[in-house]
Symmetry: C2
Subunit: 217 residues, 2 copies
DNA sequence: CACCCCCTGTGACCTTCATCACTGCCCCTT
DNA sequence: AAGGGGCAGTGATGAAGGTCACAGGGGGTG
């Protein structure tokens, strides 16, 4: 595929999925330096502790963002969807810091990867890029606060239901394919607790359970 | 006090406490529109659900930032110290949204209040303002993630110690003046649990307890 | 001084959830 | 068809921490 074709592809994707990126010259800059990248469902995009080299503009699919502490405890934070980007990338790259989070493709996912060195310049030059970045930060902060609410104030049954709803939304399907153990990791809970709570939800008619499968009703 | 004197006061404060705000014209802009504001220890600066009208540059003292959910559950998030600002303000104001947090003066506190309408323009015009804002966001995100770590992965005794350390730092004193009930609110715990854990810490020689007073050893 | 309010200490009990141990079953492989 | 590995269900037990009840003490106020 020739360079011009690739540029045109990126240009079209940006125009279609990021209408808020308004300046034509910015769109063209993105088409110049952005690369279309594909990740398979389950593929790790960036691990905790690694250095950030690109900022992803998500085009298709969804990305799961998790936190892991030194002891190996894991906790799901939020999903990134098409039209969104990873705020953690911005200053991670601006300051050349290690990532504090882990990102994994939830479905087969397509992103436009932008080398981090352009971020700063575009912030000053393009108002719509500045707004985009600021809005991203704000949305992520809000999402983190919602996560805190959930952990601090809610009990496991409610957290589990919230989690299932979000996962269903991220996968565009009321059927969730996951083992109880995987869910337990994401909620930082025990597998047995998740099993029991799911059973309870099934009795209440909220879900239907199968092997590797949860149906939201 | 004449206008010129006030401007000069703000100018001096900015230069002294915010060396990273480098552009002389930006310093002067801040001096033009910024107002020195004082808050007494314990005074509420902004409540949950109110609209944000100013962005505060903290000069002296410290500000406690908390979250409260619909049910009235409360949770301490972090302290803002001199040289810092409230990231939540930026887009709250840019989008005219209600505040998601509550801020209370921890000590007697002085800030420079900047009307929110200047934020956006300065972001584009002054690189050091843009960097300042981005760094603030990044620091706050990190602080929120640390808070999540704490709630999700740690037990109450460790959270309590962390809390006491932060409170001591915010007050520049190893002696903390607070009731067990107040601490319990901040940790979203019960007063009895806090009392028992403090007693335990006293037995271990970590603290010394008095009425309305905790001495960190 | 006497009173009273607020703060602290402590026991008893309960809920939530982690942990351990084991069973059974689905489904894949050989 | 037989075996086996991964997944789900379930009981027993215990730790952390919430809730309730109440006792005691310090310090300010009338």
């Amino acid at each position: 595929m020739a360079i011009q074709d690739l540029n045109q592809e990126v240009l079209n994707l940006v125009r279609k999925h990021y209408p808020q990126i308004a300046e034509r010259t910015l769109q063209e800059d993105i088409a110049q330096v952005g690369k279309v990248m594909h990740f398979r469902a389950g593929e790790m995009i960036m691990d905790f502790g690694s250095y950030v080299k690109i900022v992803p503009l998500i085009i298709k699919g969804s990305i799961k963002v998790s936190r892991e502490d030194e002891g190996g405890n894991e906790l799901f934070l939020y999903y990134l969807q098409p039209g969104e980007t990873c705020s953690m990338s911005f200053t991670c790259c601006m300051m050349n810091k290690k990532s504090e989070i882990r990102t994994v493709a939830e479905e087969d996912t397509t992103v436009i990867g932008i080398p981090t060195r352009y971020m700063d310049e575009w912030m000053s030059r393009y108002p719509s890029w500045k707004n985009f970045v600021m809005l991203s930060y704000d949305n992520r902060m809000l999402e983190l606060i919602r996560t805190i609410d959930s952990i601090a104030f809610k009990k496991m049954d409610e957290r589990l239901l919230d989690y299932l709803e979000k996962k269903a939304e991220a996968n565009n399907s009321r059927t969730i394919n996951a083992t109880h153990q995987e869910i337990a990791y994401d909620l930082n809970a025990s597998r047995e607790a998740v099993s029991r709570l799911l059973k309870q939800l099934e009795k209440e008619g909220e879900v239907e359970l199968g092997r590797n499968r949860i149906e939201l009703l």
